[in-house]
């Protein structure tokens, strides 16, 4: 999804992009000088002797004077933000010793640099919401709290969908607890498929989609030939899955592989699909285009389903992502981390909030409201969610596809501006039929490798 906001522009204001570039650069240097001492030991609460303060909090009168206040920095606006607020309010009502407050800090690109600044200033939130591709950079700067010590007999890995839980592990230690997780889905226009007699399912392979595309593009919509597939140009998530499906990857550990094998094949295939076959294009917002019916298929997050329902005047179908050489489904979304140098009392209270959010009924409520995957296994037995999954096959597609899913390649998660570099290469390929895929990706790989040099030592401390 695009993060841009239409805003009234003014004189001399720094652009969002230059701001992001600056923060990306800022993040690649160690965040806390005093924390250079290495991986924290497992005895919880022994921070670097550097007890971090808490950011401002404003408890409403009925919650004032509780033993501990907990601040969560969130990156959820809109409907998802309201859902999270409601759950945390429910937490506050459920007990009387902890007050928790959700503070929305803009999207991931805005909240992460703010955490960097807050760490430097010494006053931080207790719970930080971080996207799957953002927590790694904080890990490498040694600011995240190991969470194994907080797990209990009745709240641990067994409660969670293991594959999603394990993405927060470094070795055996948990640093990031999954919460709002998603996978991409293949969306297709059932009416268009039926009109030309295609089977009511997604294509099994990209090759099959291309065969179908010859027929699909004979349809017209508002006087234009129907496009077959909308590619996403402002994210590299979908492309990573294509690279996997063509037998490649973006990186193996921190070894960049985007300019070899399957990744190059995938990009070359997509480029041919766009320019030679004239069946695809790079969309500004693929979900919006699909919802308005100008394109027959696209790949976008599970989270977009509800919005597409609201807009589509045709029957919406969802399917597993197409395979090619093999299958490939990446996970995405966000989870929570605690900060290491926060006083123990606040960390304990913070984890109580996470535990509350991870209870089956609350996890089900979250999934229902937000459209994110049920991350807690027992949540799918909660009546309302179970009913919804049973009633709407599109809801269950994501759940059934989940066992195939795996986390992102390390280059996206640990190199602060890794995704930006990859996206710039993708945009070049998607916008020009004459761009040579191999040389574009060679350049991208060169830039990535330059960045890797700066973080390799830190990475090896955790994963070496």
């Amino acid at each position: 999804m695009s993060n841009r906001l239409p805003r009234h522009s003014s004189l001399r204001r720094p652009s969002r992009r230059s701001f992001l570039g600056m923060t990306a650069a800022g993040l690649s240097v160690p965040i806390l000088g005093s924390c250079a001492g290495g991986v924290s030991s497992s005895d919880d609460g022994e921070g670097g002797g550097n007890e971090l303060g808490q950011v401002d909090i404003s408890p409403p009168s009925k919650y004032r004077g509780r033993d501990v206040n907990v601040v969560m920095w969130s990156a959820m606006g809109g409907v998802n933000g309201e859902a999270l607020d409601a759950l945390v309010e429910k937490f506050n009502e459920s007990q009387d010793s902890i007050y928790a407050e959700v503070q929305f800090q803009g999207n991931y690109h805005e909240s992460s640099p703010k955490l960097t600044a807050a760490l430097r200033a010494g006053a931080v939130p207790d719970i930080m919401m971080l996207a799957d591709t953002f927590w790694g950079r904080f890990l490498l700067n040694d600011v995240l709290e190991p969470l194994n010590g907080y797990l209990t007999d009745d709240f641990n890995r067994d409660n969670y969908v293991e594959a999603l839980f394990d993405e927060g592990l470094v070795g055996d230690e948990l640093y990031w607890l999954s919460y709002g997780r998603s996978t991409p889905l293949f969306y297709y226009n059932k009416d268009a498929f039926a009109e030309i007699g295609l089977p009511d399912r997604g294509p099994e392979t990209w090759t099959e989609l291309r065969e179908w595309g010859a027929e699909l593009s004979k349809l017209t919509v508002q006087g234009q030939p129907l496009k077959v597939h909308a590619f996403t140009g402002d994210d590299d998530w979908q492309f990573m899955s294509a690279a996997w499906q063509f037998g490649g990857s973006l990186s193996d550990g921190l070894d960049v592989t985007i300019n070899t094998g399957g990744a190059v094949d995938a990009a070359a295939w997509q480029q041919r699909f766009i320019f030679e076959d004239q069946m695809g294009y790079m969309a500004e917002s693929s979900a919006v285009d699909f919802g308005t019916g100008v394109v027959a298929t696209t790949i976008t997050s599970t989270g977009a389903l509800r919005g597409i329902y609201e807009n589509a005047e045709f029957e919406v179908g969802t399917a597993f992502l197409p395979a090619e050489v093999t299958t490939g489904v990446p996970t995405g979304g966000m989870g929570f981390s605690l900060l290491r140098d926060v006083p123990q009392e606040r960390k304990d209270a913070a984890f109580e909030v996470l535990k509350f959010l991870g209870q089956p009924d609350n996890a089900a409520e979250w999934s229902l409201a937000s459209g994110y995957l049920p991350i807690v296994k027992a949540a799918v037995d909660e009546p309302e969610l179970a009913e919804q999954i049973a009633e709407d096959p599109n809801r269950s597609t994501a759940v059934e596809q989940l066992p195939m899913a795996q986390g992102s390649d390390a280059i996206r998660s640990y190199l602060p501006n890794g995704t930006d570099i990859i996206i710039s290469g993708l945009q070049e390929i998607f916008s020009s039929g004459s761009a040579d895929v191999q040389s574009v990706f060679d350049r991208v790989a060169g830039e990535l490798e330059e960045g890797v040099e700066r973080i390799r030592d830190d990475y090896d401390r955790y994963f070496g």
Binding site: P6, S9, S10, S18, S58, G78, R120, Q222, S301
Partner: protein, 297 residues
């Protein structure tokens, strides 16, 4: 020679048919001029019109192609939705406080500094001026984290002080005013001095009245700057009670989902409209102020 002759004869011909051709030329030129003006106007008004009309459309209609240019059944619920999705009343109040306070301080600062640079004699004046201009070249985002840490140490995070004080100095405004003050006739200032006016009196009764167009310009720039500022208020405030309007718009966006663009457009209209109205009223002064400074300075 031959060429010369031809040109002279052409010129002669043109001179003879002069009045007619010139009339034709002016008509053509006028038509072209107006066409160009209309094209440029559309370029600027188009997006604004799109914003205002989308704010009145049902979310589904916003994406229609071909676009519905006129929302026949205005969907005013968008405004209610946006207003209810986040505490916009709060945001408005905060934006007003921050803008009024910030712009006033900026204007006073810029005026006093400019006056000092033009009419006072003190050591290292030029060096100081160059240093200040140098600061103008440093992009704001470079100082962002440093400012955050300073403000945090002062205990101003999530306060109006933290929102206003870091942008209290306006070097750009100071520069505009200084350039303008330098064009004022020295004789008048001298005359005031002879009549026994001190600096305060000279500033208040002589210099400022003559600087009015530029003062308005600087004030408007300061107001628009404060009103639209996004990154600093986002960084320096934590709680919803202290947020300003541009950040309020963020609350309308759904992360990784599907946003209600009708409400977002309505929210954007609420944020943009006050500045548009202000600009329309002050537009004459701004043009005069900027061109005045540019031509004479």
């Amino acid at each position: 020679m031959a060429i010369d002759e031809r040109t002279t004869s052409q010129e002669a011909q043109r001179r003879r048919t002069g009045p007619n051709t010139r009339d034709g030329e002016t008509v053509v030129r006028k038509v072209l001029l107006y066409a160009a003006l209309v094209a440029v106007a559309l370029l600027f008004i188009g997006p604004l019109y799109w914003l205002f009309s989308s704010a009145l459309k049902e979310p589904g209609d916003i994406y229609q192609y071909p676009p519905h240019w006129v929302p026949l059944r205005p969907h005013v619920e968008n405004f209610a939705n946006a207003w209810q999705a986040a505490p916009f009343g709060n945001f408005f109040m905060n934006s007003l406080i921050v803008t009024a306070g910030g712009a006033a301080i900026k204007l006073v600062n810029a005026t006093l500094t400019a006056y000092a640079f033009v009419f006072l004699r003190f050591p290292f004046k030029n060096v100081l001026f160059l240093v200040m201009l140098g600061a103008l070249m440093v992009p704001n985002n470079v100082t962002l984290i440093v400012n955050y840490i300073t403000v945090s140490n002062l205990g101003w995070i999530n306060t109006y002080l933290g929102l206003i004080i870091p942008s209290a100095g306006s070097i750009f405004g100071m520069f505009l005013l200084r350039q303008y003050m330098m064009t004022l006739p020295r004789d008048i200032i001298e005359a005031a001095k002879v009549d026994g006016a001190g600096h305060i009196r000279t500033l208040w009764q002589v210099v400022l009245p003559m600087c009015k167009p530029m003062l308005v310009t600087v004030a408007i720039i300061a107001i628009v700057d404060m009103w639209n500022d996004f990154i600093w208020p986002l960084i320096v405030t934590n709680t919803v009670e202290m947020r300003t309007l541009p950040i309020g718009l963020l609350y309308l966006r759904t992360t990784e989902g599907y946003s209600n663009w009708g409400a977002i457009m309505a929210g954007t209209v609420m944020v943009a409209l006050p500045m548009l109205i202000l600009f329309l009223f002050a537009q004459r002064h701004i043009v005069r102020g900027l061109t005045g400074g540019a031509v004479k300075g």
